[in-house]
């Protein structure tokens, strides 16, 4: 079972490197790591999907808190969270093939965002398994290029994810509106 963690970190140079270096140093296995800006320009947000072989979310979370720039960590594995990733898939598409690719895209609520004489770019934003399915269905057409962002995650409603580390997120040092 893969685990998904959300970490908010200070938006400073080198913080991504610190997190990546920590995962390497502790031998934690990352499936995907997504970093981006948030509603607060001083804070970045990471969504970390990891293979927990040999470790636990509690261990990962506690180690992340050892980094001075990490503000908050939530475990959203098996929680009511929305997980989405975005994929861009460049597929061989002769004018005759375009119709079938377009109808596949419609089923997945994907979009054709670029059309060239012999290929198209399909853009899909969905959960990982749906993206997997679409990729497999497009594969016979000939995938030229594929890029996936990895998951981004957000809890539904106002309930936060699980915080394993005692005291974390409780002392008001950081507030993201959940507490």
């Amino acid at each position: 079972m893969r685990q998904t963690l959300i970490a908010t970190v200070e938006n400073k140079p080198g913080v991504l490197n610190r997190v990546a270096s920590l995962f390497r140093r502790r031998n934690f296995n990352i499936d995907s790591l997504n970093v981006g800006r948030t509603e607060n320009e001083t804070i970045s947000r990471m969504t970390i999907v990891m293979d927990p072989a040999g470790t636990t979310a509690q261990q990962v979370e506690a180690n992340l808190y050892k980094l001075v720039n990490v503000l908050d960590v939530q475990d959203v594995t098996d929680q009511p969270a929305v997980l989405r990733e975005l994929a861009l898939i460049k597929v061989t598409a002769s004018p005759e093939q375009r119709g079938e690719i377009l109808s596949l895209a419609n089923i997945f609520r994907a979009q054709i965002i670029d059309v060239a004489p012999d290929c198209v770019i399909v853009q899909v934003a969905a959960g990982e398994d749906k993206v997997d399915s679409l990729v497999e269905l497009l594969r016979p057409h000939g995938i030229i290029e594929l890029v996936r962002t990895g998951h981004v995650a957000m809890m539904r409603g106002r309930t936060p994810g699980i915080r394993h580390t005692p005291g974390a997120g409780q002392n008001g040092a950081y507030s993201n509106g959940y507490h």
């Binding site: 490197n17 140093r25 180690n63 950081y174």
Partner: protein, 567 residues
Amino acid sequence: MVKTGAEILWECLIREGVEIVFGYPGGAIMPVYDAMLNYPVHHVLVRHEQGATYMADGYARATGKVGVCMATSGPGATNLVTGIAAAMMDSVPMVCITGQVAAHLIGGDAFQETDVTGITQPITKHNYLITRADEIAQVVREAFYIARSGRPGPVVIDMCKNAQVEKAEFVYPETIHLPGYRPPQHASLKDLQNAAALIKTAQRPVILAGHGVLKSGAMPELRDFALKTQTPVAMTLLGLGALPASHPLSLGMMGMHGEAYCNNAIQQADLLLAFGMRFDDRVTGNLRTYAPRARKIHVEIDPSEIHKNVHVDVPLVGDLKTVLTDLAPLIEPADHEEWLDQIAEWKADTEARDILAWANDGRLYVSHVVRDLWQTMGQELILATDVGQHQMWTAQYYKLEQPYRWLTSGGAGAMGYGFPAAMGAWFGHKDKEAWAIVGDGGFQMTQAELATAVQEGANVKIAIMNNNFLGMVRQWQEFFFEKRYSAVNMTSPDFVKLADAYGIPARRVTQPEEVAEAIAFARSTPGPVLLEFVVEKEEAVYPMVPAGADLDAMIRRPIRQPAAAAN
């Protein structure tokens, strides 16, 4: 007030209480060294930057203050790396300031440019790259706070040369804003109650006291807890001194070279109370068979240590002194008479065996030297060791009654540590003698600091245990590699002549009966003194739990005395 970056650095260091800096100048740190002349700071010029880190480490361990070392960019900074890693492993508060090439040159492979923040990231608690003078005050304030608070550790400040030269308005920051850094203090009441319930029902409890006891200053709370609940206390290598060795509840050192009765008690316990220790592989042996019948309570300030090596029943995350204070009212007095009797029986067996195992063949052993030093000096010294056999013998035979007197590289096992660490500690306690018990191998890694000792008039006594071998590696080759000795035979200089070249008084000792007199000579001679003890070449440290073996599957001390002596 407008000041240069270098001046701002010193203004901040003075405000942090820094009185002494161990370092080595060079191109990229020259503005800082120039400004230093105007500030009331003593600078110790080392002979290799690694020596500066070990001195800062020894100073920090002996005084509880933050040790400060300084080096230039490139090779100066990379020479600090081993000492920083050792400080990280042993949670020693240290701030290392390194010069860096000017900000506009970074990334261009300029002369003596090295990615110091990149290199030191995994071996520091935190690190900083300063590119502008107006960043300095805030960074230095944060660095010292991070180094000394929570679980202490080393912090590196890499300072670009332009930031040292440029001017900025100096305002000492009154507050620190570190939203992501909040060391835990109190454990939750629910966890404390859970712990108290386990403590109440325990029949065979053992306390495992680690370095955290000293870091937290929780010696009185530890003693009170142990007395009230009549719980024996085993100590880690770095926890020695947490409870006096002569205390009736002391079990001495646990682990690979711990005494049999101590390790037996841990294996037979039904409750382990781990206080500020991290279940290192050198103290647990085989994790699958470790203390199989024991419930476990882990008091620890670093949450990442919880369940890392050993799964525990009740984690109490917080400062040890605070947690034990909070726990005290929830604990009822107990007397574990049967359990303590059982341990006393094991202890008597060990003591009888010790007498039979004591080397008495007219030749000189490290244990003789350590015993004589202990009998002469008692607790009136700061004692540092290097790494290896002599380190373990000193831990076993030097009975420590007080904390903060014992300096040894535990987690990292960094050879070369002992002599510079003793010197660093002496700078913090000039009223005391600092003794460094070192091996012939480790001493030669940092012997260049002999010149530093002379230049500073350091009252450091160096006791070299010379067996012309890398003794611990030799022992492992004897036990585990069919005595195939590979690269352990060591030719050393004439240490007495070497000392003479530095103008350091020295003696060579080859007989057990000469030891006490040599110690007296060292004590009565002011300043650095070197004693070379030519000891038995192929002696092994016992007892020993082979790496990865069960904790109670130890190789005991061989009996040497004739059977008649047993009666």
